[in-house]
């Protein structure tokens, strides 16, 4: 059944096997060989066309590969970022609710209105010290680099924009499941750090500065614009707090008092180091790829307000002139083209990151996630790839050409050799089969003619004789061999001698049948016996001896 199925198909294995078996049995024809040869020539031509097209940049293999790599990177990182934000959103809402509740309880217990704490450093320290352990416990692992609580109060000793609070930062946020997370205090009373057994950062400050105060004011403004606000978060553009260079996103959640008034904010920090660690994919093929999350529109990404994950620096986000990347026309390519304000050209993809669910009242601003690659570097990779492909194609081209030369030699060789032998007068029986159908047919044809010549001497032998006389081969028959031949003639029977003599007289086989009243088969039998007794293998050899003896008799022999 299986065999049947195999043979039924148009290109079944059975058919292919049969074809090769036939080829092996019968040899390949000149037609087939010519077909193969022409196919290779066609291939050669196609390769040449491809090479020309490649050299003029008609193909975009590199762009496809880059596009695929960036798409994979985009999908993976974008999903990861959204999951991360979802997780922090849930965690942050709970944190804000818990802190609001705790502050309300503490204030009620102490019978101290919230506003009365302003300027009272010891009271603020006491309040924060009670809130600190909970905040410390809520530090997320692997999702954020820091956690904070800022109250809309100040101890009054510093600037009017200073705000009391606590911020703890995990210096190794990517080390998940570490038994002792590396947590330091960034803002807050140092006594609380000592009590918690954590150290203070070199950039430590007692209170939050103006940048975080702005965040709180912004949150309040949004709250005023959206009456009846429920718990929500606001993702701030990347900012560097105070005099540090460490930029970060801040997920701010409002903290409320009993009257539903915003009295502070809390939330999580995602700093540049964590962003780099989370969204850096060492892409070995395109190592300089850049992941970027920034606010803005699809054609305008505010790089200075975003975070970048890159192995190499392409933007100086501190410089205002390098803050903006505008997308230019994609020119029908797979990737968009971007240009930074300082002239750096990039290729890549950008997609909107839906940070806020649409029902959220604080859903302000649009965010984008982009994966980019420097255009200059891409062009280098592309030309290297094109060169490599060109080299391989040229290699194939040359190899094909060599194959053509060799193939032409292989199939012309046997034809050449066979024809040479035929022209030298070799008998068709002496010439080996070539495996080329047409040549073998020719040999067979010649063999048939030789036999036919034996049967039709007048027609064939005359021509043959002419041919032989024209191209009379120089046989090395010695006098001794000629004498031995002469002696062997006496071993012929009378009937054989009669046939032999008639041959010498110039009659052909057909005439002999008529003269001796014998059938052609009897004549053939006599022929065989004559050949055997005279020790010759063909009529041609027989004639050579005869010519030699004639020459000898006529005294022409040298």
């Amino acid at each position: 059944m299986k065999k049947e199925t195999e043979t039924k198909g148009r290109f079944s294995i059975g058919k292919i096997k049969l074809f090769f078996r036939e080829v092996l049995k019968q040899g390949t024809s000149i037609q087939l060989r010519l077909w193969i040869f022409l196919s290779l020539v066609a291939l050669q031509f196609i390769a040449f066309i491809l090479m020309v097209m490649l050299s003029v940049g008609a193909f975009d293999f590199s762009e496809s590969r880059l596009s695929l790599a960036l798409e994979t990177q985009m999908t993976y990182h974008k999903q990861h970022m959204l999951k991360n934000l979802d997780y922090l959103n849930i965690k942050g809402e709970k944190l804000a609710a818990d802190l609001s509740h705790s502050i309300e309880n503490i204030l009620t217990e102490n019978e101290t209105p919230f506003d009365k704490l302003d300027g009272d450093a010891p009271a603020l320290e006491k309040l924060l010290s009670k809130l600190a352990p909970d905040l410390f416990q809520q530090m997320p692992e692997g999702n954020a680099s820091g956690i904070y609580l800022m109250l809309d109060l100040s101890n009054g000793a510093g600037s009017s924009k200073n705000r009391a609070g606590l911020m703890m930062r995990n210096l190794e946020p990517n080390s998940i499941s570490r038994s002792t997370p590396n947590i330091w205090m960034k803002y807050g009373p140092s006594s609380i750090a000592k009590a918690l057994g954590i150290r203070i950062l070199p950039q430590w400050r007692m209170e939050f500065g103006a940048k975080m105060h702005e965040q709180l004011q912004h949150l309040k403004k949004l709250s005023d614009q959206h009456q009846g606000l429920s718990m929500d978060f606001y993702l701030s553009p990347a900012i560097a707090l105070d005099d540090t260079e460490d930029k970060a996103f801040y997920l701010n959640f409002p903290v409320y008092d009993g009257q539903n008034r915003i009295i502070g904010l809390c939330g999580f920090e995602i700093n540049a180091m964590l962003f780099k660690l989370l969204y850096s994919t060492p892409n070995l093929e395109f190592p300089s790829s850049i992941s970027l999350m920034a606010p803005g529109e699809s054609d305008r990404l505010m790089v200075c307000q975003g975070l970048i994950s890159s192995q190499t620096t392409y933007f100086n986000t501190e410089q205002s002139e390098d803050c903006l990347i505008s997308s230019t026309s994609s020119d029908g390519g797979l990737l968009k083209e971007f240009r930074s304000a300082n002239g750096e050209e990039l290729l890549g993809l950008s997609q909107e990151l839906v940070v806020y669910s649409h029902s959220k009242p604080l859903a302000v601003g649009r965010w984008h996630f982009a994966v980019l690659f420097p255009k200059k570097e891409f062009q280098l990779i592309e030309s290297a790839f094109r060169l490599k492909t060109m080299m391989w194609m040229l290699f194939g081209f040359m190899l094909n050409f060599l194959l053509l030369v060799l193939l032409s030699g292989f199939y012309m060789g046997p034809i050449h050799r066979t024809l040479k032998l035929i022209l030298q007068g070799s008998s068709s029986e002496e010439i080996e089969r070539t495996g080329i159908i047409e040549i073998d047919d020719l040999l067979q044809f010649l063999k048939a003619k030789e036999i036919s010549e034996e049967a039709e001497p007048t027609k064939f032998s005359s021509v043959k004789a002419n041919a032989v006389s024209t191209h009379r081969p120089k046989m090395n028959i010695t006098a001794e061999e000629a004498n031995a031949f002469k002696q062997r003639i006496s071993s012929l029977s009378p009937a054989e001698k009669a046939v032999f003599d008639l041959y010498l007289e110039g009659h052909n086989a057909q005439e002999i049948t008529e003269l001796l009243y014998l059938s052609i088969n009897t004549i053939k039998t006599h022929n065989k016996r004559i050949y055997m007794k005279l020790d010759v293998h063909s009529r041609r050899e027989l004639l050579e001896y005869v010519y030699f003896l004639e020459d000898q008799e006529q005294g022409l022999d040298k």
Partner: protein, 481 residues
């Protein structure tokens, strides 16, 4: 009808083939040779033409320095990636930045196969003791094989010596530090007269201790109603180093041949008495963190620590009530004990390469060579409070600051370092093969015991001297591995 044999045609073909035999075959042979030559040429072109994928090497470093040193290091890494890295197809990626103890913890987690442990970096900046722990597992690349004798000769020989483990160079010196005094000059000047302080008092260990006692007594007197509320004057980052330096200055060995502390040595006991007095009664802080942290909260006036700590001090002090004051720091050489030798220890991390594939190792070594180039090393160390490690850069460093008139804090630091390089015997701490973390435990155990004893001092019924003797024996027994 018999077919006519194609003899004429055969003869024609034969003639053609004979012609080819005469000329064509030679051409064909030459053509074949030419084609084979072209193919070989193309093949070899294909072998070198395509760019190889970049080798990404991960690095851990402790150049944190409150952000500024990290920023400088980031700039250097970017510069490497853009220049030498791009040329050689190497991308250097920083995967961890922390304090040196953070790096040690992360290496420990890897060595112990802890869940969630980080991936092993290729390059790290570590102290020799961490290198020793890694080399015990056979993880470190022998750098002798990757640097020529000429390249190694460019490094200061004693710095190279420190990086050798079992005569193999495993840690390449990157920069070196020593210990100095950081004095809050602004607040010190405010009390200098009251505590009868003179500049010379800060140059000697014994007089420094006396100042600490006077300062505590003076600040305690400011609130007569509250007993024992004086403020500490002195903070020492590493008590282990301090004991070691003091005893070396006095000509004694801190550690015996068995790797244990010579706790019965008279110089050890003398220093212990002074330290214990200051810690129990007041004057020396027992805070088990960096001195820079409590300097910035006004909890001490004078601290002894690594030159690399300069970037952590800042220029203001924040008091518990939230108000801040701008202060100036003065950097002074490490104090010398009375009658002792001018001796201090040099320390500092070095670069290690973790064994990997030959390609990755070669890439890592390429960065090491680039990073320690004399001019680059010189500039980086100047920016970060370290001493350069190459002969050429070290000599110009000493010369440049010998007669410096400026008094900016970084210049002061460099001036002090240059002074100490010229006038002190600077030696590195030998590795403790038997007990790697003795230095950490020494500080932990001693401070812990003293904090407890200070808290219960008022109620302790023992004789004070007996209390100190008991404390010492408890500390020594607590240091047993």
């Amino acid at each position: 009808m018999a077919a006519q044999p194609p003899f004429r045609a055969i003869l024609e073909v034969q003639a053609l083939l004979q012609f080819q035999e005469g000329l064509g075959l030679k051409i064909r042979k030459r053509l074949c040779i030419f084609l084979i030559y072209v193919l070989l040429l193309l093949n070899s072109a294909c072998l070198f033409s395509p760019p190889q994928p970049a080798i990404v090497i991960n690095m851990w470093h402790n150049y944190f320095g409150g952000g500024s040193m990290q920023s400088r290091m980031d700039q250097l890494i970017d510069e490497f990636n853009r220049s030498e890295g791009r040329k050689q197809g190497i991308i250097l990626n920083v995967s961890l930045i922390g304090t040196s103890s953070d790096l040690v913890k992360n290496f420990d987690a890897i060595l112990k196969n802890e869940p969630g442990a980080s991936e092993m970096p290729t390059i790290a900046i570590v102290y020799p003791r961490t290198a020793l722990a890694l080399q015990e597992q056979g993880l470190l690349l022998s750098l002798d094989e990757h640097f020529t004798a000429e390249e190694l000769a460019a490094f200061k020989p004693d710095f190279l010596e420190e990086g050798k483990i079992a005569n193999t160079l495993c840690v390449l010196p990157a920069n070196k530090s020593t210990e100095v005094i950081f004095l809050n000059q602004t607040h010190f000047d405010q009390v200098a007269d009251a505590i009868e302080a003179e500049d010379a008092d800060l140059t000697q260990i014994e007089t420094l201790f006396t100042l600490a006692k006077r300062y505590y007594a003076y600040t305690d007197e400011q609130t007569p109603d509250i007993p024992s509320d004086g403020r500490d004057f002195l903070a020492i980052d590493s008590w282990y180093n301090f004991f070691q330096i003091y005893m070396s200055q006095k000509g004694s060995d801190f550690l015996g041949e068995n790797g244990k502390i010579n706790a019965t040595d008279p110089h050890f006991l003398s220093l212990w008495n002074d330290i214990a007095d200051l810690a129990l009664i007041g004057g020396l802080t027992t805070y088990n963190g960096y001195a820079s942290e409590i300097s910035r909260t006004g909890d001490c006036l004078c601290s002894i620590g690594s030159t690399a700590g300069i970037l952590y001090y800042g220029n203001e002090v924040t008091f518990p009530d939230g108000h801040t004051e701008e202060v100036d720091y003065t950097i002074l050489p490490f104090p010398i004990s009375e009658g002792g030798e001018a001796f201090a220890i040099q320390r500092g991390g070095g670069l290690i390469v973790i064994r990997s594939s030959a390609e990755v190792e070669a890439a890592a070594v390429a960065f090491l060579k680039w990073f320690t180039e004399a001019q680059r090393n010189y500039q980086f160390t100047l920016d970060s409070g370290y001493m350069p490690v190459k002969n050429e850069s070290y000599d110009s460093f000493v010369k440049q600051f010998a007669e410096n008139e400026e008094k900016e804090v970084m210049d002061q630091l460099q001036e002090t370092l240059a002074y100490m390089s010229a006038n002190y015997r600077l030696e590195f701490t030998p590795l403790l093969e038997q007990d790697h973390d003795l230095n950490e435990r020494f500080d932990d155990v001693m401070k812990e015991q003293l904090i407890e004893a200070r808290a219960s001092l008022a109620t302790d019924e023992r004789n004070y001297e007996q209390l100190k003797a008991d404390l010492l024996s408890e500390i020594i027994s607590g240091l047993e591995p």
